[in-house]
């Protein structure tokens, strides 16, 4: 199963631990990149670039304005396991002028989706 895991998975439900472990180990070893659609409540996890996950969600019917990128670090405390940073977050038209997601409400929505679909920082081993 692990060798056949796609590079990027679109999640409607909680990811299986084995799949998450595969995605983490495949690329960055200590973290996995992901993009959430805060309106549809789905996430695309994995891949080398947030732009790849973004493209997948756009093909899946997401609107770009609803997509926000971040990094997930397993093995960290819940308050530290999400890094709200991605180049796709630079969207001056929506008031976000930096890589870091600035709006507190949007950060909360991203965090809540992360906790539901990916994890709260639990170690994978």
């Amino acid at each position: 199963m692990t060798d056949q895991t796609p590079d990027i998975i679109i999640l409607n439900d909680r990811i299986a631990t084995n799949d998450l472990r595969t995605l983490v180990d495949r690329c960055f070893e200590d973290m996995v990149k992901f993009v959430v659609d805060v309106e549809r409540g789905v996430a695309a996890v994995g891949g080398e670039l947030h732009a790849d996950a973004e493209a997948l969600l756009l093909e899946d019917g997401s609107r770009q304005q609803d997509l926000w990128g971040a990094n997930y670090y397993p093995g960290r405390a819940p308050e530290d396991c999400v890094e709200y940073t991605s180049l796709i977050n630079i969207r001056p038209a929506q008031g976000n002028r930096s890589m870091e997601l600035q709006d507190p409400d949007m950060r909360d929505r991203l965090r809540d989706l992360t906790f539901r679909l990916i994890g709260t920082g639990e170690a994978l081993s």
Binding site: F28, E29, E48, A51, E54, A55, L87, I88, M99
Partner: protein
């Protein structure tokens, strides 16, 4: 004339993407040491080298997603380049995100961003 002005696209394309990203990161790291200089000239020359290598990478890498991320990243460096004052925190954040574009480069984060 910037240091890499004579570097051609053809020459740059001979390097694999991991090497290209690491060489850009190396220039960013060198520029890190110039951020405390009161005179902005050396810092700006550092960013010129970074922009030059980034532009070469964009020109030689046709993958759309990568090109999009590199262009967004380039905008961050362009902002750092034109500003009068150094911005060490944003410089470090940009370097970190660059290294996170490639798994091989990401392994350098602990070394370069202690």
């Amino acid at each position: 004339m910037t240091q890499h002005a004579g570097l051609t696209e053809e020459r740059w394309a001979q390097f694999d993407l991991d090497s290209q990203v690491l060489m850009i990161a190396n220039e960013m790291h060198r520029t890190s040491r110039l951020l405390d200089d009161e005179e902005p000239g050396s810092r700006r020359r550092g960013y010129e080298r970074v922009l030059r290598l980034t532009d070469l990478t964009i020109a030689t890498r046709p993958r759309p997603a990568l090109r999009r991320e590199l262009l967004r990243w380039r905008d961050l460096i362009a902002e750092l380049y034109v500003e009068d004052a150094a911005a060490a925190d944003r410089h470090r954040a940009a370097l970190r995100v660059l290294l996170q574009m490639r798994p091989a480069a990401a392994r350098q984060i602990a070394l370069l961003l202690r």
